[in-house]
Symmetry: C3
Subunit: 316 residues, 3 copies
């Protein structure tokens, strides 16, 4: 049984893109598309979550991601309570389950959870009351499904389809929850090839089993791709790994106009942000014509609105 689905097969929690039916991913993308129209109106609010309370539970700080969920929830007219857990109850020695039970008892309707430990949002989802929905906003190096879905939205927006596409993900695959969620989503949505491009030290063993082809040479890996997804080099996550200097990394794997020239002429370049200019991506690419990095951010609001609405029982 998929812990994200209820008995009728509807989305109850949104924890990972893995094992989700294609129909649910498409439902999220289609619902998000209707919200993109909302965000273009002069008054951007819809009352779908009026009277609902959403808790942003950030066990790991992230102003940017927290903000996108806050904006999405407010556009749906929800009440939002931001809780930075590292500085609160946990420091009084309360267990995670007791914290969650208490917040649930305050009539929470939705938890958006970011946690440094892989699996924490699953653990929480397993223990909440039946009416509460959990959204994973990034857990360890495991999953970041709303980021992956906004990436899928961006690809569909610019490419109009998934079949036949060749997509390359470049950089620190080992530590990237974003990459994992993207790989699952891309395969479910039926692109023709997912490539990962990285040095061996940044590639988990047996990554091929996820349904990807592996390239160590970026010039081979980018050949004829329709989409390039650059990953942020999360230096803070890498400890004890023999990583070259950021200058060396840039020389070998950093995306430049030159390296990108082997891709299709209408290639789009994506990045989950925040970008490290001159480390994984050159400014000429980040700010160039192929870049869709800022549209990704905009679509992120609509996709998060869609996930929240569907969990609350509303979809297009």
């Amino acid at each position: 049984m998929n812990p994200q689905l209820d008995k009728a097969g509807k989305l109850r929690h949104f924890l990972t893109t893995e094992f989700l039916p294609k129909e649910i991913l498409l439902q999220i993308l289609d619902t998000a598309e209707s919200f993109t129209r909302v965000t273009k109106r002069n008054v951007k609010k819809v009352p779908l979550l009026r009277g609902k309370t959403l808790f942003n539970l950030f066990f790991e700080a992230s102003t940017r991601t927290r903000t996108t969920f806050e904006i999405a929830a407010k556009r749906l007219s929800a009440d939002v309570v931001n809780i930075n857990i590292s500085t609160s109850a946990q420091s009084k020695g309360e267990s995670l389950l007791d914290t969650i039970a208490n917040l649930s008892a305050m009539h929470a309707d939705m938890f958006v959870v970011r946690h440094a430990r892989s699996g924490a949002p699953f653990f929480i989802a397993k223990h909440v009351a039946p009416h509460i929905h959990v959204i994973n906003a990034g857990d360890g190096s495991h999953a970041h499904p709303t980021q992956a879905l906004l990436d899928m939205y961006t690809i569909r927006h610019f490419k109009k389809k998934f079949d036949g596409l060749r997509v390359a993900i470049v950089g620190d695959i080992t530590n990237s929850r974003v990459a994992r969620s993207q790989i699952h989503a891309l395969n479910i949505l039926g692109v023709s090839e997912v490539r990962v491009i990285a040095p061996k030290t940044l590639l988990p063993v047996a990554i091929e089993r996820l349904g990807v082809s592996v390239f160590y040479d970026i010039r081979l890996g980018l050949k004829d791709v329709d989409v390039v997804i650059m990953l942020r080099l999360q230096r803070e996550r890498m400890r004890g790994i023999n990583l070259p200097s950021s200058q060396e990394f840039f020389n070998t794997y950093g995306l430049t106009i030159d390296k990108l020239s082997v891709a299709k002429h209408d290639v789009i370049v994506m990045h989950p942000g925040p970008i490290n200019r001159g480390v994984e991506i050159d400014s000429s690419v980040a700010d160039g014509n192929s870049s869709v990095i800022l549209p990704q951010v905009t679509f992120g609001i609509a996709v998060r609105m869609a996930v929240m609405s569907i969990l609350a029982g509303h979809s297009i």
Copy 2:
């Protein structure tokens, strides 16, 4: 003159349960009961405080309590501004009165105040403009009246009455603002006996004057009680007191199924949270059939909504 009441005897500030007329406590409980029905509806908002601005002034950090007030205020459609004073104006050397005068000048309607110094909310209430209402969210070891009222609500909910009840409060009475506010409320509402159970080092002198019977032995103290209220062992508050280790404390005063067996068969067990499992309460009790700890949290929202509404001139 009671500083909490206006000339007509209506509640103007909510600072302590001491000296409050029974009618006002019952008015809060009855109003809260009507809000419990609101929180069960699909859309949980009521417009009673629309256009009003509530400031959460936390001179002492407490995510949990601050959150319950924030949720309660938002359900009443108020605008909520959270201010953590320790990190703001006070650090620029501004006096408490100047801070309050400035916030008042911003057209505040209600201040929820938590402060490490006993009496601070009274001092503030004494100096605010006539249209401003002050709610004490915990001051030093003095009072925590909304916590006490949600406890009264919980007792009435499960026991349907106050008269004839025997209630035991167990633990660190000396440092507990919760215990003081509970003792006053229980006596005003007319339970038949309030017991305090603690070692001598955690009992203030002359506690009997508050209208309680004292027990040093928990097995004697729990005999035939209808309600047990466990207090959190606030180790951070105790300095220079010869406290036994937490294991010793648990052996002597920690609530276990075994110790609880001398209480009435339908006893309820309460705790203001966050609980220290294995220190003041055993998990088998905290998670057992007698525990009403999570309903307390839920009722806390409704009780805080009730207090705010009554202060703003609305009651059932």
Copy 3:
């Protein structure tokens, strides 16, 4: 070209009072006057900014100023997102422009920016998308235009006019963004004389060019003035300057009843707050009949509502 105005001469950003047409300053004051009536109503909200998202971007902490903008925006029914940048993306090495571009992509409508570097809000205004409006909430020692406008509102409220008035600004002129913005506004609005009173060490060179007369002796400077504006002695801003002790400063420049006695009998005393009692102002003056320090705070909400509304295309 004035970067604050669009081609039609309408206010697009509000960054400084310098070079603004008198009509725009008066438009802000008149619009604020209509909002003063709103804040007196029982329900204080107006829907002018419903569906708009305002970001409070504070690169320098200020609870008080942030709070007034938050309250003003909520009264206009905007959604408010508070971002303390020092603790967020900037620490991940993202550039200011990338941070701004990302927030803009989240469909922000307005940025309220406080920054320790003079000019930062101009830099941001220069790079935002055309639909986004920037309000300067204080940049370095350069400008603080909403503070200046609330001061102008206060003067007009109590004096009914600007022409013929003699206004003295006392204290640390060198480091005061407030003073600069006041001097420009007072001259644009046509008071008859602006005086600055300070020791030489706290006066920038060539200050006369801004259109002020300079006094080193407070008793000469206050003679026959209609308005006294005291500045906060920002000790945290002064490094390496040979400042006398605060007691010495108080003796020479601190405002007392005695020193004030040479001003006009109906003089008003203003201060941007938070005040240092006994440093730049005596309590007998701060709390006395001439003081309009608290009305300034109240008018500050209405003035900020006015600026936001005008930027969003609404004015009286």
